[in-house]
């Protein structure tokens, strides 16, 4: 079945996006991302270390014919910082795709709805392909779609918290209302978290810490690949309804009688 993910007219077979942060080594990073089958990879933008100019650039670890790069604005506390970082990112990567993060307070790493909206509005007007990271707020998601964002990326739970999808009810509403792909981002810890999102109709998920910090990143990368496929297949296959009471899976009639 042809069932591709389409973002800004670009088609993808994989519905799993992965981050490149928090890996214990670049070798584990490359190996686990290959195992995950992801086609979209996020990176951050940071100052060049002028005292260590020999360090190998992360971009050199990947064959960019096979991957789409998605720079983020992680670390930005305001709309201005996010727009500035997006401009830098476009120069660094040559791509106009950007994952917008505006996070004013470090403790819980939750996004600022107003700052995020303002940054997205300006970047969309400048022609960027904008994927905003947001709280699972259906009204904000609708407004971001209306100004031309390419996707919405509601959080499942706080970044790196590993609490899974705590916001499923709101994400269901976002999915029902959205005309752009809904990508569940942040908090996913295990493949079942990804499956839950896709079974509910989410178009994709983004995973980083769960793979990078697993004991076996490559194994977890492949596990997420299968979990995402399982969730999407189940969504297409049409699940059974929930019921308050049970229903026998064996026939009620025709049980043999013991001697009485």
């Amino acid at each position: 079945m042809d069932d591709k993910l389409v973002i800004a007219d670009k088609e993808f077979d994989s519905r799993l996006m992965v981050g490149t942060g928090r890996h214990r080594s670049n070798e584990e990073m490359v190996e686990s991302i290959e195992a995950s089958g992801a086609e979209i990879i996020t990176v951050a933008i940071r100052r060049l270390d002028l005292d260590n100019l020999e360090e190998k650039n992360i971009l050199d670890y990947f064959n960019w014919d096979e991957y789409t790069i998605l720079p983020n604005t992680a670390g930005c506390k305001t709309a201005d910082e996010a727009v500035f970082t997006a401009h830098l990112a476009r120069e660094v990567t040559g791509s106009d795709w950007v994952k917008v993060e505006v996070i004013p307070y470090p403790e819980y790493l939750l996004p600022d709805p107003r700052g995020t909206y303002d940054a997205c509005k300006r970047l969309v007007d400048e022609g960027f392909v904008v994927l905003p990271y947001i709280h699972a707020d259906p009204v904000l998601a609708k407004h971001l779609e209306e100004i031309g964002c390419a996707t919405v990326m509601p959080l499942g739970s706080a970044i790196g918290s590993g609490q899974g999808v705590q916001t499923l009810d709101e994400i269901r509403i976002i999915i029902r209302q959205s005309t752009v792909p809904v990508v569940v981002d942040a908090g996913l810890a295990v493949p079942s978290d990804a499956s839950v999102a896709l079974e509910a109709g989410a178009d994709a998920v983004l995973v980083n810490t769960a793979i990078a910090q697993a004991e076996d990143p490559a194994g977890m990368g492949e596990a997420f690949k299968l979990g995402v496929q399982a969730g999407r297949m189940a969504y297409n296959a049409g699940r059974i309804a929930r019921r308050a009471t049970g229903v026998p899976s064996s026939p009620a009639e025709g049980v043999a009688a013991t001697a009485s």
């Binding site: 490149t20 996020t42 951050a44 933008i45 002028l50 500035f84 401009h87 830098l88």
Partner: protein
């Protein structure tokens, strides 16, 4: 001699100096970077046309692992 602020730290330089030249001088060879001059991001194509004056600030960035 002029004083620049590069990635938040003060640096002496012979100057005024052309930006592209300066990047070579301090040993930056890789291309997958971006530069902001006094808060404005400079497109690759225009790096040659920027001259650094005393007190200017530069931000020089590259991609790193992130989620």
């Amino acid at each position: 001699m002029i004083t620049l602020t590069v990635n938040g730290k003060p640096r002496e330089a012979e100057g005024p100096v052309n930006l592209k030249r300066y990047l070579v001088d301090i040993g930056i060879t890789q291309t997958a970077i971006a530069v902001a001059h006094n808060g404005t991001v400079i497109p690759r194509t225009e790096i040659e046309s920027v001259t650094l004056e005393d007190g200017d600030s530069l931000e020089i960035v590259r991609a790193v692992g992130g989620g």
